[in-house]
C-alpha cells in the first residue's frame, strides 16, 4: 500500500501527456484505420468495403502521381540540402571574419513560416509579367519564362525553394558537429602532408556521421510530411505536377468528404513514413558505429 502511495505523484506527472497524446493522436489513428475499410462520407451510414479503398488508391491516377511527387521530393530535398550544407558548414567553420554574419543570413529563412516562404517565392517565380524573374527578363528584352506554370520546371523550383529555406539550419547542425572534432586529428594529418581535400575526405566527412543521421532524418520526415510550402507556392499545380500526398489526403478527406478513401491513403502514407524512417535510422546508425 505504501509502495503504491509513493508512486501516485509519478503517475500524476505522466498522466497529462498520456491523456493528451491519446486523444489527439492515438484514438484518431485507430479510427482512421477503421474508416479506411469503409465507404464513410462524413455524414450518412457506411458499409465495410474491404480493401477497396486501398486498391482504388493505387489505381487512381492523381493519387499515384501525388505519391510519386512526394517520393521524388523526399529524395531530392535531403540529397541536395546535404550536398550543399556540408561544404557550407566547413567554410563557415573556417577563419573568415564575417562568418557569424554569414551564418545568421543563411539561417534566417528557418524562422519564417513555410507558408510565407511559399508566398514570397511566388512573387519571384510567378509566370505573370509581375514576377521578379520575368520582370527582369522583360527588362533585358528577353522572353518571359513559364516558371511555376510549367509542369516540368515547377517541381524543380519547388525543390530549389525548399533547399533555400533549409540550408542554413542544416549547415548549423553540421557546424555544431565540426566543433566537436578534436584539432589533433588535423594537426597529425598536416604533419603527414595531407591536402585540404584529404583532411575533408578522411577526417571531417566520416566524423560528421552523427550530424548526418539527425539532419537526414529531419529532412526526410519533413519533406514526406510537407504541406504548407508547396501549397502556398503552387497549390499543387500546374495540374497535379506538384501535388503532395498530404494535400491529396486533405482535399479528398475534408474537401470532398471521401473519408474512407482518404483514410486508406493516410494509412499508406503512415506506413511509408514508418518504413523509410526505420531503414534510414538503421543505415545511418551503422555508419556512426563504424566511427568507434
Amino acid at each position: 500500500m505504501r509502495e503504491i502511495r509513493k508512486n501516485v505523484p509519478y503517475a500524476l506527472f505522466l498522466a497529462p501527456a498520456i491523456i493528451i497524446y491519446t486523444i489527439i493522436t492515438f484514438i484518431p489513428v485507430v479510427w482512421t484505420f477503421f474508416y479506411s475499410f469503409t465507404n464513410f462520407n462524413g455524414l450518412s451510414e457506411y458499409e465495410f468495403v474491404g480493401l477497396n479503398n486501398y486498391i482504388q488508391a493505387f489505381t487512381t491516377k492523381n493519387v499515384v502521381q501525388s505519391f510519386r511527387n512526394t517520393l521524388l521530393y523526399a529524395v531530392a530535398v535531403p540529397v541536395s540540402v546535404t550536398v550543399l550544407a556540408i561544404p557550407l558548414a566547413v567554410i563557415l567553420s573556417g577563419k573568415m571574419k564575417s562568418r557569424n554574419l554569414q551564418r545568421a543570413i543563411f539561417f534566417f529563412p528557418s524562422v519564417i513560416s513555410s507558408l510565407f516562404i511559399g508566398y514570397i517565392w511566388n512573387f519571384i517565380l510567378s509566370a505573370s509579367k509581375y514576377g521578379l524573374v520575368n520582370s527582369i527578363l522583360t527588362g533585358l528584352g528577353m522572353e518571359k519564362l513559364l516558371l511555376l506554370s510549367d509542369p516540368d520546371s515547377a517541381m524543380l523550383l519547388l525543390i530549389l525553394v525548399t533547399v533555400w529555406c533549409n540550408l542554413g539550419w542544416h549547415a548549423s547542425i553540421y557546424i555544431a558537429n565540426i566543433q566537436t572534432i578534436s584539432p589533433e586529428f588535423y594537426e597529425a594529418a598536416e604533419v603527414d602532408g595531407a591536402s585540404a581535400f584529404d583532411k575533408f575526405r578522411y577526417i571531417t566527412f566520416p566524423m560528421l556521421a552523427p550530424a548526418m543521421t539527425t539532419s537526414v532524418m529531419l529532412l526526410l520526415t519533413g519533406s514526406l510530411k510537407a504541406f504548407d510550402m508547396p501549397f502556398a507556392l503552387t497549390s499543387g499545380g500546374p495540374g497535379y505536377a506538384t501535388t503532395m500526398i498530404t494535400q491529396t489526403i486533405i482535399t479528398e478527406g475534408i474537401g470532398a468528404n471521401r473519408v474512407g478513401f482518404a483514410s486508406a491513403m493516410a494509412f499508406i502514407f503512415l506506413f511509408t513514413i514508418a518504413v523509410v524512417s526505420t531503414i534510414q535510422t538503421k543505415f545511418m546508425t551503422k555508419r556512426e558505429d563504424n566511427l568507434r
Binding site: 543570413i105 507558408l115 514570397i120 498530404t246 475534408i254 503512415l270
Partner: protein, 275 residues
Amino acid sequence: MKRRKTLLHVQEAVMLLICAVFFIPIYYLIVSTFKTQNEIVKAPLALPAHFTLMNYAKAFQAISFFRSFGNSLFVTAISVTLIVVISAMAAYTLARKREARVVKFLDWYLFLGFLIPLQTTMIPLFSIMKGLKLTNSLLGLIFLHCNGCVFGSFLYKGFIKALPEDLEEAARIDGAGTTRIFWKIVFPLLKPITTTLVIFNVMWTWNDFLYTYLFISSSDKSTLIMQVYNGVGQYYNDWSVMMPVLVIALLPMVIFYLILQNQIIGGLTMGSMKN
C-alpha cells in the same frame, strides 16, 4: 603564409557575394513594400523612387493586425507554457521510473507518436474536437498544440537521465515529497533544455498553419498566419498590399530571431542532435 591570407580574403568576398544573392528574396520583399504596383514591375530591385508608407496602412487593416496578433500571442504563450510543464513532468517519471514495466510500455507508446503525421489523424480528430466543443476555439487550438509534449518529454528525458540522483535523495531524507523535489530541485536544473524547447515551440506554434486552417473558421479567432492566408484570397492580384502584409506578419518572428539569435541557432541545433 601571405598567400594563405589572400586566399582567405578571396573566399570571404565570394561567400559575401553568395550571401547577398541568397538574401535577394527578402530584400525584394521589403523594398517592394514601399513602391506602387507599377514600380514593383518596372524597377523590381531598385530602391523606391518615392518613399511611401501607404501600403502599410492598407495592410494593417487587411489582416486586422492587432486582433490577430493578440490571438497568436495568446495561443503561443499558453501553449508553450503548458508544453514545457507537461513535458518536464512526464519526462521526470519516464526517466526516474524507467525500470517499471508500465512506464516502459508508456514510453514506447509515446514514441509511436513521432511516426504519426497529422494527416493520418485529422479526420477523426475533427469529430473528437467537435464532440469536446473545441472546434473554432482558441482553447481548442491550444489543446492541439499541447501534443508537442510528446517531443518535449523525449527531449527532457535524455537530460534528466543524465542528472545524478544524489540531490533528490538528500531532499527526500529531509522529508520533501516528490512534487516538491521536482519543482524545487530538478526543474531549475533543466533550464538549458527548457530554453531549447521554448524556442522550438514558439516557432512551431507561431508559424503553425495546418491546425488553424483545419480547426478555426471565424476570422475573429484567426491567428496572424491564418489572416495572411485569408488576405491572399482577397488581395491575390494586389501585390502592393500582399507584400507589406507579409512583412508585418514576419516581423514578430524576425524580432524574436534578432534578439535571441545565438540561443535560437544553438537551441535548434542542440534540440535536433538530441532527438
